[in-house]
Symmetry: C2
Subunit: 356 residues, 2 copies
DNA sequence: CTGAAAGCGCTAACAA
DNA sequence: TTGTTAGCGCTTTCAG
C-alpha cells in the first residue's frame, strides 16, 4: 500500500528574527523563556510529580505567555501511538449505527482517544483499506460493525491487529465482540405475533452477508416451525438496503397477489426499524391498515419507531451500550494485548406499541 | 492546555534479534533488504519520478516481501500535517447533520484526508476544546456546524486558524462559509401556506442561538406581515432540542386552548423535519388530522420526510452539497491560506407533499 | 539516479 | 529535582 504524492510542507523558514510568539513555537522555545530545559517542560506538560512547584509555575507562565500548544504530531511519533480509534460502519447515515457510534465516541473520549469514523458501505475493498490504517499507525485500534463475512475474510489476515467486532461477529474468529442474541430476539418477535393470533408471518430481511440477518432468519424459521407452521418461501425477502424506500417497496411486493390461496401474510417482521417504517408507508400506499389488516414488528427501537403511525412494536437493542462496550473491549485489548478475549452478549427487549 | 498523563509507550525492545518481518519494520529495513538507501525507498513510496525502474522494482519487491507499511506518525511529523479534517457538529445523531457529514467525508477522502468527527452538543466549552485540536496539530483544518453565536466567540480568538463554517455562519467574521438563504426559504414555506388559504400560522423554532433560527423566524414574520397578517406571539415556540419528542409535545402545547378567540393556528411551520415529524405525532395524539385540521411544513427534506403519514411538505436543503462545498472551501483554504474567502449560498427548494 | 545526513518536536533514559 | 542527549521513522536538501 503505497501513498500518493502529498502536499508540500511549510517551506523552511527564512530564519528571520524570533516570531511575535504563539506561532510554530516548540517546547525548546518555552524552555528558553522559562529558563529551564526541555525535559522539565516536558515533565510539566505531562504532569510528572518530580518538578519543584516554583519551577512548574515558571514553565506554566511561559506556556501561558507564549500561547504554546503541544505538537501532538511529534508526541505521537515519540510515544508510538496515535490516540485515534477507528470505527468502521456500513452506513453512518443509519440512525441505528449513529447511536452506537455515539456510545463508542463517549467512551473513547473519556479515555483520551478520538474517533476516526469511516463509512465502508459494507464494501470489502474499502474496509480492507481502512483496516490498513492500523498497520500504518494512523489509528491505535479499530471497531468494526461491518458484516461478519467481511470481517472473516479480513480477520484471517489481521487477527494480530488490535480490533474488536460490534453487532457483527464470528465467535470462532477469536476477535473480541459484543452483540445481542439475534436468534432469540427474532424468535421473541415472531412469538409475539403468534400470540396475537397471526399464522402467516412474513420476514423482510437484509442482505444475508450479515450475521444478524442469518441469525434472525433462523430464529424466525424455528419459531414458526415450533408453532407448527411451515414457513413459506414467498414470505421471505432479502433486501440489500435498509433504507425506508426499500422497506416500502418490499411491503408492496410482499402483499401482492401471487401467493398461494390463503397464504398472503397478515403480519410482517422487518429486521430493522428503518425497513419497518418504510413498510408502514408501503402498506399505507396500497391501502392496507396497520395493525388491522397487517401487523408490523420492527427491530432496534431507534427513536423514530415511537413516532410513526402507528408506533412500531419492535425489538429494542441497547445501542448505546453496544457502542460503549465495544470501545471498552478495545481499550482493554490495547492496554493488555495478551489478555483473553471475551465475547459479550447484551440483552434485547420486546417493546410493544400500536403496530401489532 | 496541558495534556494529562498518557499510556506508557511500548517498552524499549530488549534489542533482540531481527523480527520475523512485517512487524515494526521501518523504511531502513526495507532499504537494507532492497540494497538501497532510505532516501530511495522514500522516493519510491512517494512516487517520485527520478528513480530508475529497476531500482523501483527492487524496492517494491522488498516492500511486498516484508509487508512493510509506512508509519504515518513519522511522516506526519516530518511533513507537519496530520491529514485529518475536524468536523464539529452539534449532534451527529440528527439525520440532517449525518447527511452533511457524508458530503464532507466523501470530498475529504477524495483528497487524501480523513475526518475526525466531533459531537459538540452545541456546547461552547466542548467546541473550544475541539478547536484546540487545530493548534495542537492534530487536525489540519476544521469545519464547524455549530451555532453561529458560538463560532463568533471562538472566531475572535481563532480567526487565523484554518477553518470554515457550514450552515451556521457570520458573514462579517471573515470566515469562509456555505449555507442557504434561510430567510427566503422560511418565507417560501410561509407563502406556500398562505397560498393554501392559511392565515393563522405557527412557528416551531429551535434555539435562537442558531443563525438559521433567527433568519427563519424573520422570514416567517416578514412573510406574514407582507400578507397583512399580524403574527401573534402565541404562535411561536422556541425549543432547545430537535428531537422528535420535542416536536410532538410542542405541537400539543401549541394547539391547546389558551389562544385568543379564533387565534388557534391552522398551520404549523417547523424549522426541521425531525421536529415536524414529531409534530405529526403530537397532532395525531390530540386527535387532529393533517392536513385537514392542521397543515404542517417541515424543513431539510431528510429521508424520513417522505415516509411519514402524511408525507411532509418541506424545504429541501442540498445537504450533501453543503458538506461537499464546506470541505472544498476548507481544502482551498489549506492550499492557499492567503486567498480570499468566499461565502457560498446554495439553493433550497420547496417540496410539496401531503401534509399541506 | 542515488546516498549521506540533518532534522521535524517530543519523551525518557541516564547523569548530575 | 533538573539537564543532557539519544532517538521515534520519515522526507528532503545537498553531494556525488
Amino acid at each position: 500500500m503505497r501513498a500518493g504524492p502529498r502536499r508540500q510542507p511549510r517551506s523552511p523558514e527564512p530564519a528571520g528574527p524570533a516570531r511575535p510568539a504563539a506561532e510554530g513555537l516548540s517546547i525548546a522555545g518555552v524552555a528558553r523563556q522559562a529558563g529551564v530545559s526541555v525535559a522539565t517542560v516536558s515533565r510539566v506538560l505531562n504532569a510528572h510529580e518530580n518538578v519543584r512547584p516554583a519551577t512548574r509555575d515558571k514553565v506554566l507562565a511561559a506556556i501561558d505567555a507564549s500561547g504554546y500548544r503541544v505538537n501532538e504530531l511529534a508526541r505521537n511519533l515519540r510515544t508510538a501511538e496515535s490516540r485515534l480509534l477507528l470505527t468502521m460502519v456500513p452506513d453512518f447515515g443509519n440512525p441505528f449505527y449513529a447511536e452506537i457510534v455515539r456510545g463508542i465516541d463517549s467512551v473513547a473520549r473519556q479515555h483520551g482517544y478520538f474517533m476516526l469514523l469511516c463509512d465502508t458501505g459494507a464494501d470489502a475493498g474499502r474496509e480492507r483499506s481502512y483496516f490498513d490504517l492500523l498497520r500504518r499507525r494512523r489509528a491505535d485500534g479499530a471497531i468494526c460493525l461491518d458484516p461478519a463475512t467481511i470481517q472473516q475474510a479480513l480477520g484471517e489476515a489481521s487477527s494480530a491487529l488490535p480490533w474488536v467486532a460490534c453487532c457483527e461477529f464470528e465467535p470462532s474468529m477469536g476477535v473480541p465482540y459484543v452483540g445481542i442474541d439475534n436468534y432469540r430476539a427474532a424468535g421473541d418477535a415472531v412469538r409475539h405475533l403468534l400470540a396475537r393470533g397471526h399464522r402467516r408471518i412474513a420476514l423482510i430481511n437484509s442482505d444475508i452477508d450479515y450475521l444478524y440477518a442469518r441469525q434472525r432468519q433462523q430464529g424466525y424459521l424455528d419459531a414458526l416451525t415450533e408453532a407448527g407452521i411451515t414457513p413459506l418461501e414467498g414470505w421471505r425477502m432479502n433486501l440489500n438496503s435498509l433504507d425506508y424506500e426499500a422497506g416500502a417497496s418490499a411491503a408492496a411486493v410482499l402483499m401482492e397477489p401471487p401467493h398461494p390461496k390463503n397464504a398472503t401474510p397478515t403480519a410482517i417482521f422487518a429486521v430493522s426499524d428503518t425497513l419497518a417504517t418504510g413498510v408502514l408507508h408501503g402498506l399505507r400506499s396500497i391501502g392496507k391498515r396497520v395493525p388491522d389488516d397487517v401487523a408490523v414488528v420492527g427491530f432496534d427501537d431507534i427513536s423514530i419507531a415511537s413516532q410513526v403511525d402507528p408506533p412500531l412494536t419492535t425489538i429494542a437493542q441497547p445501542m448505546r451500550e453496544l457502542g460503549e462496550t465495544a470501545a471498552r473491549l478495545l481499550l482493554q485489548r490495547l492496554a493488555n494485548p495478551l489478555a483473553s478475549v471475551p465475547g459479550v452478549l447484551l440483552p434485547h427487549r420486546l417493546v410493544i406499541r400500536g403496530s401489532t
